[in-house]
Symmetry: D2
């Protein structure tokens, strides 16, 4: 297993064929493109990877492909997304069998749960996990928020090794960063909010998991380096450029869910020849032609 990195860890989209199955060839291409662009790790089967739409067999294919293509060059994180601890442990086991380095997982969803039970949930997962565990805080999907005290208790108990915070609640994010510092930094803390990564790194994040990094990993790498070097204003300007690029996700406002942000990322990647189609998982509606044109205009301007 590789040491947990700092820096940029893109949450890989899952390229699909026109028949909506995993496009193994395109996924291999994507992995190589990302590593060549200098990313510090790869995160397969996250929300950007449309994990909740993939069957177990498809998930296995993704993990196998990413691990094989990465070939030890960077660590591979895999989302173990399921409704409860027992099911998550099974997902982790499948990922571990296929060579993943870290498992990324959330609080239970579907069943309503309080912070005390969320704590026990992660303890249970950690106690039975074949891989070190990264806590994933994504209230928009899970419909509960990991309280800073929950995260810090798990850190103190060494039940988790890292946090991916996609909550967008920056005040609590800061509480976790400060608490982690007081504990001697047992956690690596990553922000999933790709449009304010500069601000989150100023606050003290160790790295970024940018969905938009699928499209332009080089700029996120440059952003991370600028900020690590204390060049905050230059970083802010580059981050602003990436926010402009991020506007591709509003190209088709009639869509929600995977079809909107992820469809836009995939279309931009297709335009750059990183993957082959912009198809998203069934039953999501596909991008309209006018939306594709808007995306093309923004992408062309960004990379000009």
């Amino acid at each position: 297993m590789q040491a947990f990195p700092s820096g940029v860890i893109p949450p890989l989209v899952t390229p699909l064929t026109v028949d909506r199955d995993v496009d193994v060839e395109a996924l291999e291409r994507l992995v190589n493109f990302q590593i060549d662009s200098g990313v510090h790790g790869l995160f397969a089967l996250g929300s950007s990877g449309e994990v909740s739409f993939l069957t177990d067999v498809q998930r296995d294919t993704v993990v196998q492909t990413v691990v094989a293509s990465a070939d030890g060059r960077v660590p591979v994180l895999v989302g173990a997304i399921d409704t409860s601890a027992a099911r998550i442990v099974e997902q982790i086991s499948r990922a571990a069998d296929r060579g993943a380095d870290y498992a990324v997982t959330t609080a239970p969803f579907y069943a309503k749960i309080n912070q005390r039970d969320i704590l026990d949930h992660f303890r249970h997962v950690a106690g039975h996990s074949a891989l070190p565990v990264v806590a994933y805080d994504i209230p928009v999907a899970v419909h509960s928020k990991l309280a800073p005290t929950t995260v810090l208790t798990l850190a103190e108990e060494r039940a988790i090794v890292a946090l991916k915070d996609s909550s967008g609640v920056q005040a609590q994010f800061r509480e976790v960063v400060m608490g982690n510092r007081e504990l001697g930094r047992p956690l690596k803390i990553f922000t999933g909010t790709e449009v304010v990564a500069d601000a989150d790194l100023l606050i003290g994040a160790d790295g970024i998991v940018p969905g938009l990094g699928n499209v332009d990993p080089a700029s996120y790498g440059e952003l991370y380096n600028l900020l690590a070097a204390g060049q905050w204003e230059e970083g802010r300007i580059l981050q602003d450029r990436l926010v402009h690029l991020f506007r591709i996700i509003n190209a088709d406002e009639s869509l929600t869910g995977p079809a909107q942000a992820i469809g836009a990322f995939k279309e931009a990647m297709r335009l750059r020849d990183i993957i082959t189609t912009s198809v998203t998982a069934a039953p999501s509606t596909l991008l309209s032609e006018p939306a594709k044109k808007t995306i093309s205009t923004i992408v062309t301007a960004h990379f000009a």
Copy 2:
């Protein structure tokens, strides 16, 4: 396959052993108890069945046990609860292989989705399902609500045969009932709100899926018969008695999720010797001793 019934269809709890595995013997006892009490169908692996906490192997055990014990006396509905259409189709296939009669399933969760995609989701499930599909509207778990027009479109297309409405939004429930009547009643419509079943049957529900029916199915059967006979005031009085019994779920206010309502149901069932333990799925906290006393007092008074 048996015809879809009207009447009372209890959402069976999943009895667990002290080691938190499926208690097959207790589940058999529960099935027989329910059928002997006159219920019109059985619903395994619903929210009351803690479905989201069970592994696939445990789910298989539940279905197998319920189908074998029911032995064709009443139809068996099985919850196919997973995050997306493709995964749900697999869950349905496992249930069908084990003899289930109907599959009960929800809109996608985890990924955010709009009504247009929810419609396509159910169409996709229906088109690939090994069993007739019942739509399950439970916003507290899924975090989206099935719009009345979505349900009615699916009814018109014969993609679904029934609705279980656990939304508690009675105004929209009525819209579905009225729309279904206008379509010639393609759907059987069930309410999951066990404390206002009288009101929902007045509005036009075909039946009840009462979690509390695990504890007192006979009273729900009597309630259904009273209301079917137009004895609304007598029904209201009996429903009030059941609401008194339902107060067991507030016995331990520090709990949420399975441990609260389902733990209370299980404890009441244990007191009545219907099952053997009141254990709920990990990692939920178990009922405190004072809470158990409160439940015992309420249960004793109810059945006196």
Copy 3:
């Protein structure tokens, strides 16, 4: 002061002139129309009355006009809608000075508040109020829900004389009804959910505050009488007819807030010559012409 009635108490819209000022003549007409239709009380300055949009001077005009027109024939309830206890007491004082019989008021809004403080809020209002107080539970506007225990504590302390429940949370509504019965019925309990009034009366409501009663008070009176006489199925059929009429509020789906439901009520009333314009308070957008046509079709069919 008149005794608090059971039955139908319409929440009067506030008719406006084309200049968006209070249309006193139309309001007088509306009061007479309602009383002639047999309603048991009048509720001015509720949400249907667009109270939050009216200045204090306009509110005074409304109260004065309604009290004068009612002329003691039925009791007049007045909404005292403001952000805190001290401000509400002032609103009640103005209404009392102009002859109102009862004040209807909510929990604080704008500032976040818990149930303990909501209890003290109503105690403070009751202790300083020039009129008997009706608690108004309308989470869609206030963004908190009155817990059943809060309402029942206030009832027991005689701090409030009635409840108007517009929460649509029927399970909790039933808890209040049952608790009130156990206390010897200190409260009159009204439902504000005009589309399931039959169900709420079955559960035990004392009456209805139907926004749609502005348009068709006679039918709500008939509904109340049918249900009071135990004719539940006939009542259900009439309620269904009123639900059909209620569909006027969906005529213009681009609107929200006052312009949607209240604009539709006003347009239907205008068509029936009960008021003069369908103008709603600034800055709400007015109904489109196609929406008006849809409303006209529904209204014509209903009263044919």
Copy 4:
């Protein structure tokens, strides 16, 4: 009228006497303390000022006192907090009569409203306002969020001169900042999130409206100067110190609303002799003695 400043504008608490009336003497002391500490403006009658709990007479007293005490040394912003445009215009008029420089106001609350109507609401306010208007985005109180396009449209039309963003939604905050830059900076943009002011200033805010600035305005002034000078890491460290101080608001977790954060601010101010009591507006529960001890410990450590 004074030009709209950049920098630190504390949202003044409203000091109360033990009888819960406005403590004019303490308010004068507070104004002088703030100005002596170098703040760039004063904001009276915001959420920290418990505006929603004060009567109009009390609000007038606050404005009069703050304007007289400020005596032209810094501009005075006044919250015009009410449920609708017409009522807000009246509040602004009262503030203007008493010498306020700017009015700060929100979207309508109580009535549900969409972005189109929010736009017209601000246009209506601006068209009738006696003072230049600052838009106040505070979803926790108003229960709707100002969309970036709404704010930018109002900026382009010169209907508003500034934005106070207390939404905590940093991604959208950035969109406003970037859009404002593209428009040639018609708006001054302030963040109300006192615990990530460093991050918001990096993104491009013109200043801070920190509730905690009531307690320690000098540090916020220093923070602003550090960041304006590009000393981001030093700023981050000072911001972290202020976050430690901010923990006073968690001293009494049983409280919500004014009694929690504002009660804690007031207690800390009382300990520093800036005001005389820590009383919050009725009916909020007051801080417990253990909570006061916790606050005292944190405050003593901070200013040691």
